[in-house]
């Protein structure tokens, strides 16, 4: 069976041990996590997890169903085939001598990445984008000598006004006193990088 990388998005209760429960489930069921990213969601008390997992369709279906059984998982969806935006952030500490610094900065500019720290013999590059973009930049920088590297793993949201994970409409809508900024003209979906 063909295996592909799937993106699962889960809304989970923000309680101690939830991440442990989910990580333990993956190990126990012999599923392989490519990456997992957890953080606050739009609702207080709920976290949103983005899990990237590799496997064939049957296996992914099992993963989804098993995760759904965890009491603290409110909702889980496989958004692989949904219209979605997925991003990852990486910090790359790369060796930079006076002679290579200029070249590195050029590459960083092309990738619309940022240099967030400069030291005598190194730079820290911050890059945001999908995995391919991050991978490409890392590959390019490897030639200069990467000293340290950290990646967040994928986070993702489905496109459109209301995500399919929305649990319920908020009962109270806060009235904003400040005038709303005019919505930005979103013509096309933003380029991936």
């Amino acid at each position: 069976m063909k295996t592909t990388k799937h993106t699962l998005v889960a809304l989970v209760e923000d309680k101690p041990g939830v991440l442990n429960r989910i990580a333990s489930l993956f190990r126990r069921r012999n599923f392989n996590i490519e990456s997992i990213a957890v953080g606050q969601s739009e609702q207080s008390g709920l976290s949103r997890m983005t899990i990237v997992v590799d496997g064939d369709d049957a296996k992914i279906e099992q993963v989804r169903k098993q995760l759904d059984k965890v009491v603290e998982v409110i909702k889980i969806m496989d958004i692989t085939d949904e219209e979605s935006v997925a991003r990852e952030l990486a910090l790359i500490k790369v060796r930079a001598t006076p002679s290579t610094r200029g070249e590195i900065i050029q590459i960083v500019d092309i990738f619309r990445a940022n240099i967030v720290d400069v030291a005598v013999d190194s730079l820290i590059v911050e890059v945001t984008g999908d995995e391919d973009k991050v991978d490409s930049l890392i590959e390019l920088l490897r030639g200069f000598g990467i000293r340290e590297l950290t990646r967040t793993g994928r986070i993702a949201l489905t496109r459109g006004s209301a995500g399919p994970l929305l649990v319920e409409e908020p009962k109270e809508v806060k009235v904003l006193r400040q005038p709303l900024k005019p919505p930005r003209e979103e013509t096309e979906s933003p380029p991936d990088w």
Partner: protein, 569 residues
């Protein structure tokens, strides 16, 4: 009114209808034990090892369908529960396990008898809790009982630090449980049910495989209606035994590794299989890739994750078995499958696995059959794991739900005695027979003391072959008869029983089997019979591990001297 954490726990247990707690005291749970006398409606059964508290709660749950409760202290008390919790988890038995924990200031300090039991039991519970505040107690207990019993049942563990038992707080009982993340789907999808009905109505060789889900859902009448309406033969899983009367004309035994040949053949030849409340365990399916090659499979289960987990399914129906069958049955057209049923009958005649063969010596199958004859099948049989379990499942005919209680998924030797204690306490009016092997019996033998202390009228039959029989059988069949560490010296079980104050007999002669069983039945109080049987008897038929269900090994011909006088039923 203010109450302590321990009082709140007890109040909640009473409100959940708990009548018995199987437990063992210790330092961390002392405040709770100190509170128990205030709640005389909570009967406490003192076991001799915490593992048996969990097994007894499990046995109680299986016999009654209610949630069993066990209680242990922190550290070793909690870890001793682990096997019993895992056993309940794999067989979907509703259980709430309560453990004490070191006082909150000591958590994480490797304090005396501290262990992270919520971490340890993470993969073997449906859910677990660490209660850090007495104010959370009532909500947690309420949720725990709900989760344990709802949907596909299972164990839930509540870990409570000693000081939380002592904290005083306002007792507010939550009227309802609100768990947005746990909402079992109880009703099947109408479209899928319609598809299933069409498949069944068009089938020529339909077959029902019924599992423990039918028992849990109490869908006996619905299952029977489905089978009788469309004349569909029924085979069960090992844990499904009793969900359909085994003496019914449409009953064709149970499938799997030691299942009946005709049941396995039926599975392999059926064109439509209705799998109800079962999970296609590897012991049931044999080699999965060759399982039911001709069949379209309808799978009804309350746990969506079971569907498509092990075998491909054509029509998945997620829902409570009883609800689903009620809707399904309305759409079933009455039918007769004469040809198919006579084919099955023919297989049954060709492969008479359930005939006890004529022998001079004492064989275990005969013992089980005689227990069946003497009790007229009116008993709850609680088995160990291994040969004794398979013979008990084969040679006793179960007509009632929950009449066979056995550790299936985990296969826990030593379950028999504590399991029987739980069953007897749950259903005191029933005769309870504990069928043990000499190996498993020695794993939890100390519970004889519990039986005496609680005055439990449990009949115990030890199938004593001086071996770890099932392992020895595998060594015989698959490891060139090299009996490595399976020869088992055992004590004099009659003297052991005597030391505990339990009446006991040893039977070595076949002619004395029936009278011994009769004597046990007449005796008021617990009774133990040590049946010293043929040491190298094997369980047949057997589908070798990893083989297809059709690749069964039957009893060698020279051993199969069956007499005409012995009826199969």
């Amino acid at each position: 009114m203010k109450k302590t954490g321990a009082q709140i726990l007890c109040e909640c247990l009473v409100r959940e209808g708990v009548e018995v707690i199987f437990g063992y005291p210790g330092g961390a749970v002392l405040p709770l034990y100190d509170t128990l006398p205030q709640y005389p409606q909570l009967r406490h059964v003192l076991v001799r090892h915490e593992q048996c508290a969990a097994h007894a709660a499990d046995g109680y749950a299986r016999a009654t369908g209610r949630t069993g409760v066990c209680l242990a202290t922190s550290g070793p008390g909690a870890t001793n529960l682990v096997t019993g919790i895992a056993n309940a988890y794999l067989d979907s038995s509703p259980m709430v396990a309560i453990t004490g924990q070191v006082a909150t200031p000591f958590i994480g300090k490797d304090a005396f008898q501290e262990i992270d039991i919520t971490g340890i039991t993470l993969p073997i519970t449906k859910h677990n809790y660490l209660v850090l505040n007495a104010a959370d107690m009532s909500k947690v207990v309420r949720e725990a009982f709900y989760i344990a019993g709802a949907g596909r049942p299972g164990p839930v563990l509540i870990d409570i630090p000693r000081d939380v038992f002592q904290q005083e707080t306002e007792f507010i009982y939550p009227e309802r449980v609100d768990l947005p993340g746990y909402k079992p789907r109880l009703f099947g999808h109408p479209t899928q049910i319609k598809k299933a009905a069409e498949l069944i109505n068009g089938a020529h060789k339909p077959l029902i495989i019924a599992g423990r889900g039918v028992i849990i859902s109490k869908a006996f009448a619905e299952l029977r209606e489905l089978a009788e309406k469309a004349q569909i033969p029924v085979v069960t899983t090992l844990l499904g035994i009793g969900c359909f009367p085994e003496t019914h004309v449409l009953s064709f035994g149970w499938l799997g590794m030691h299942g009946m040949v005709y049941a396995n053949k039926a599975v392999q030849d059926a064109d439509v299989i209705v799998a109800i409340g079962m999970r296609f365990d590897d012991r049931a399916t044999g080699m999965v890739s060759s399982f039911a090659p001709k069949a379209q499979i309808i799978h009804i289960d309350i746990d969506p994750a079971e569907i498509g987990k092990n075998v491909r399914v054509d029509v998945p129906i997620v829902g409570d078995v009883k609800n689903v069958l009620q809707v399904l049955n309305e759409q079933i057209i009455p039918k007769e499958h004469m040809e198919w049923l006579s084919q099955l009958e023919q297989w049954r005649e060709e492969h008479p696995a359930l005939t006890v063969r004529e022998t001079e010596c004492l064989i275990p199958q005969y013992v089980i059959r005689q227990i069946y004859e003497v009790t007229h099948g009116e008993a709850i049989v609680v088995t160990g794991v291994g040969q004794n379990q398979m013979w008990a499942a084969q040679f006793f005919f179960y007509d009632k739900p929950n009449s066979l209680i056995s550790s299936g998924g985990l296969g826990t030797m030593g379950f028999e005695l504590p399991g029987a204690i739980g069953a007897k306490i749950g259903r005191p009016e029933e005769t309870v027979w504990c069928i043990a092997g000499d190996g498993g019996f020695q794993m939890t033998i100390q519970e004889l003391a519990t039986i005496v202390q609680e005055g439990l009228d449990i009949k115990i039959a030890i199938i004593n072959n001086g071996y770890l029989g099932m392992v020895r059988q595998w060594q015989q069949l698959f490891y060139g008869r090299r009996y490595v560490h399976t020869r088992l010296w055992g004590p004099d079980f009659v003297k052991i029983a005597d030391a505990y104050g339990i009446a006991a007999l040893r039977v070595t002669d076949k002619k004395l089997v029936t009278s011994a069983i009769e004597k046990a039945m007449e005796h008021r109080g617990p009774f133990l019979i040590d049946f010293v049987v043929e040491p190298e008897e094997c369980v047949f038929p057997i589908v070798p591990p990893g083989a297809a269900l059709t690749q069964f090994i039957e009893m060698p011909q020279e051993d199969r001297v069956s007499s005409q006088s012995q009826q199969q039923r």
